[in-house]
Amino acid sequence: MRAGSFSHLLSAARQGFELGFEHGAHSVEALLWVAETVEESVYRSGSLLGGPDGLRFVLSNPPLRGGAFSALRLRVNGAAVAPDRFRVRTAGMADWRPAATLSKAAPVEIVAGRPVEFGAAVSLPVGAPAEVRLELECPAIPPLVWVEFRDIVRGA
């Protein structure tokens, strides 16, 4: 547990109490439904696999909102992965697209409920912890959208 996490948990508990006091237990419950659904529905838990080709993982949904993304950036354990060293495809489909080939004219579409798989030429041993950050640029709405998750690398 990172330093400061206890205070964050206490803060969350206090905020939950405030919410329940002001708006009833239903509000705390309903906000948790949404938070839990979001947490389990973006990064597919356990999909971080390590093998001879490097790392792979799956997003079941876009982080925040769907769209056509013209650029992707990936960091694994804090280290940036060059765009020509990682790729993307609709999960289950054959064709990978190197991240370096994405552009405004040739973006990758990531939409609700259509899983997308990412592969990176990054070597991590099975069982190693990994912290992954993926950044996505959508020309229609410029601010960067990102997702971060921590998981243990499993064998492919």
């Binding site: 419950e29 079941s60 925040l64 939409v111 020309p139 709405i141």
Partner: protein
């Protein structure tokens, strides 16, 4: 990359449900969203997306048919959509309609056969479950619980749920196209399907009807009886709903502009669009959804832009309940996880209740809305009950005010939420959006000009409503802040090279970006009429304006991109601001020209009202096909600026200062609700006739003076020409 918005959408809605389709026969609607092609068709209930596409297939023993390729006719009657399909010798007549309480849809197919032999028909129904509030627009849950009972199928996703019932029990069930025996199943479900067997005999009609209802699981618990009755005979429900719709329209004013029929049609379209957005989704919430398809949630900023129009339409009750709903979710404490600060009003609310904070402007609209509500309705008691919440809003604003400049600070809200969740969630996601003004995808820190104008209006309204209070520290700091802002805005933002005002102030210096937001200062009367007129004309130049409306950023700005949401696209609300400013400055021709551009958009959108268009061509891009922001301000400008109305039921005074183009010879406004009566205004240049049905004297203020109209009587006055500048924000 997806191009073009897609087919003209079909939107059917009740007060708690919506059905989206493309008119092909199935509930499917593929639309471009943020450059990607996405499916938005299906059934929505209680602001929860219940299903994705819902399709039917028919098998007559020899051949399989779908609805889109067999469609022979279609029509819309009220909120019911009908289609007719020819499947060889079989005729299928379909009707789809939304329902309210329980929220959902009823879909009926009536099958008949041409010929003298009966046909055995299998109808296959398939839909994709969703079950998450639309405020989480980009997510489809991955795990569900499916359970069958004697009443039908029940799908659950945490506290959200949907029930499916049909008049003909399924002969087979499918999950992800694999046969399912029923019972209970937990896990991933991509598609749920069912077969229904019908014998279609010559000379008779075989009827199969489904109901899909849902939203909050707890609200489904007691709904089985209602669903059963509606399945057996939905007509009484539909008829009651149609009577309610007709009564609402009958209570709203009629506008006639013989010299500008496009504006007259635009008003009719905008009024209907506003009605489409009415929402009473549950949990005692009342409001209007922001738009369709992906903003079909109650966004409180968007509600605030629609409510002034509702007041002119005479719906005081809905306005009061909408304001009360938002105030109910005011943050009483610091809630960093939700972005809330004490006194702040929510950005979004949804049944659950679910609510989020974290905008710089939403709270600021509500003191002014409350003040308008009192003037229109005369309901002083309700507004008095709102005073503690409105004082808390003013306290929130005062706490965000920079003591050095007197300007309200915007920005940092989303970053604060991200920081608050950093150590709690295992999976985090977010957006590097440093700012949350109405143009929330672009950085307008630290003191966006429209936020300052809103703050100024909020302070003035708080003092008007609550002269002895207005804040927890009394009226003195409120009055001081108001006066300081009025002095600061026209000077600190001055941009003489552009004959305009700067977009923001950052680190003490004006941010010299040309955006339509600065026109709000002109509308508010914070600059003199001559300067307001100059600003309106500057906005009409072709870097900021196009033939289809006003851009969010000048095309000469280095950051301009025609497909950027808030850095180049054309927004009807920005065009309405330009019309508002021009008419406030007394330039009727320019104001009407801007209004006509919005109205032309409604025609091009086939009765819809797109959120935004590309900056370089009149093509919707990344645009909800119907948005309250695109209709509410348009309606308000027609009443407040074009007709120049200001209502105050408390004093019995109606201000009427029309700003019509010189070439106009006539205009009529019938049935304006005012206190206990209705006002009808008939203008025939230069005479204005006022007919009043109320029980007491009405005083009408116009540019040439005042006239008293006794109860049930009519009066006429001669209006001066040309119309003077109004110069104040209503």
């Amino acid at each position: 990359m997806a191009t073009g918005p897609g087919p003209t959408p079909i939107l059917l809605r009740s007060l708690s449900a919506a059905v989206l389709a493309d008119g092909s026969g199935d509930l499917a609607l593929r639309r471009e969203a943020r450059g990607a092609s996405e499916e938005w068709g299906g059934v929505y209930g209680q602001l929860v997306r219940l299903t994705g596409p819902w399709r039917l297939r028919f098998w007559d023993g020899a051949r399989e048919y779908g609805l889109p390729e067999t469609r022979a006719a279609r029509s819309t009657v009220g909120e019911r959509w009908r289609s007719e399909h020819r499947l060889g010798s079989i005729v299928v007549r379909q009707e789809i309609a939304p329902t309210h309480r329980p929220a959902g849809a009823i879909r009926t197919v009536r099958c008949s056969v041409e010929g003298d032999r009966p046909v055995q028909l299998t109808v296959h129904s398939a839909f994709r479950p969703y079950l998450l509030p639309t405020l989480v627009e980009g997510i489809r849950p991955i795990s569900y619980r499916a359970q069958t009972s004697a009443e039908g199928l029940h799908l659950r996703q945490r506290g959200f749920g949907l029930d499916v019932r049909s008049t003909v029990a399924p002969s087979h069930l499918y999950i992800d196209r694999a046969s399912w025996i029923g019972g209970r199943r937990d896990g991933a479900i991509d598609e749920f399907g069912s077969d229904h067997e019908l014998v279609v005999a010559p000379g008779t009609e075989s009827v199969l009807r489904w109901a899909i209802v849902g939203g909050l699981e707890r609200d489904l618990a007691g709904s089985a009886g209602d669903v059963g009755r509606r399945l057996a005979d939905p007509e009484p429900t539909f008829a009651a709903s149609e009577r309610e719709e007709a009564a609402w329209y009958a209570a709203t004013p009629t506008l006639r502009f013989p010299d500008a029929p496009a504006l007259e049609q635009g008003y009719a379209t905008a009024r209907a669009a506003l009605r489409c957005l009415y929402s009473e989704p549950g949990d005692s919430m009342t409001g209007l959804v922001a738009g369709y398809p992906w903003y079909s949630a109650i966004w409180c900023r968007d509600v605030a832009w629609m409510l002034p129009a509702l007041l002119w339409l005479g719906d005081f009750d809905w306005t009061a309940r909408s304001i009360a709903t938002v105030l109910r979710f005011q943050s009483r404490a610091r809630l960093p996880l939700l972005g809330g600060e004490p006194g702040e009003l929510p950005m979004q609310i949804s049944p659950g209740p679910i609510f989020f904070y974290g905008t710089s402007d939403t709270s600021l609209y509500f003191p002014d809305l409350a003040e308008r509500y009192v003037r229109h309705s005369g309901d002083v008691a309700t507004a008095a009950a709102w005073r503690p919440m409105l004082r808390a809003v003013i306290d929130w604003g005062l706490a965000r005010t920079d003591p050095a400049t007197g300007l309200l600070r915007n920005g940092g809200e989303a970053e604060a939420i991200s920081a608050a969740t950093a150590s709690i969630a295992r999976v985090r996601y977010g957006i590097d959006s440093p700012d949350t003004t109405i143009w929330d995808s672009t950085d307008r820190r630290d003191h966006a000009i429209d936020v300052q104008v809103l703050w100024w209006a909020a302070l003035g309204s708080a003092l008007a409503l609550d002269p002895a209070g207005a804040s927890s520290r009394g009226p003195a700091p409120v009055r001081a802040a108001l006066e300081r802002l009025a002095a600061t805005i026209p000077t600190a933002y001055d941009w003489p090279e552009e004959r305009f005002l700067a977009d923001s102030i950052r680190a003490g210096a004006p941010v010299k970006r040309l955006r339509p937001n600065a026109l709000r200062a002109a509308s508010a009367g914070l600059v003199d009429a001559a300067r307001a007129r100059t600003m309106a004309h500057r906005a009409a130049e072709d870097d900021l304006s196009s033939a289809w409306g006003v851009r969010t950023l000048s095309a000469r700005d280095p950051a301009y991109r025609p497909d950027a949401y808030h850095d180049g696209q054309v927004w009807p609300i920005a065009t309405a601001w330009a019309a508002d400013a021009a008419l406030a400055a007394g330039d009727a021709e320019l104001g009407v020209d801007f209004l006509a551009r919005i109205a032309a958009g409604y025609v091009a959108d086939a009765g819809g009202a797109n959120e935004c268009y590309r900056g370089d061509r009149p093509e919707p891009f990344d645009s909800c096909f119907l948005l309250g922001l695109s209709v509410g301000p348009f309606v308000s400008v027609l009443f407040e600026r074009l007709w120049g109305l200001r209502a105050d039921v408390r004093t019995g005074e109606l201000g009427v200062r029309p700003c019509f183009p010189a070439a106009w010879r006539s205009a009529t406004l019938e049935g304006l609700r005012f206190g206990g009566g209705q006002v009808t205004l008939r203008y025939s240049a230069p005479t204005l006739e006022i007919a009043w049905s109320g029980p007491a004297r009405l005083t009408v203020r116009f540019a040439g003076g005042t006239v008293a109209v006794e109860a049930g009587r009519t009066a006429s006055v001669s209006l001066p020409s040309p119309p003077p500048a109004a110069g104040t924000l209503q």
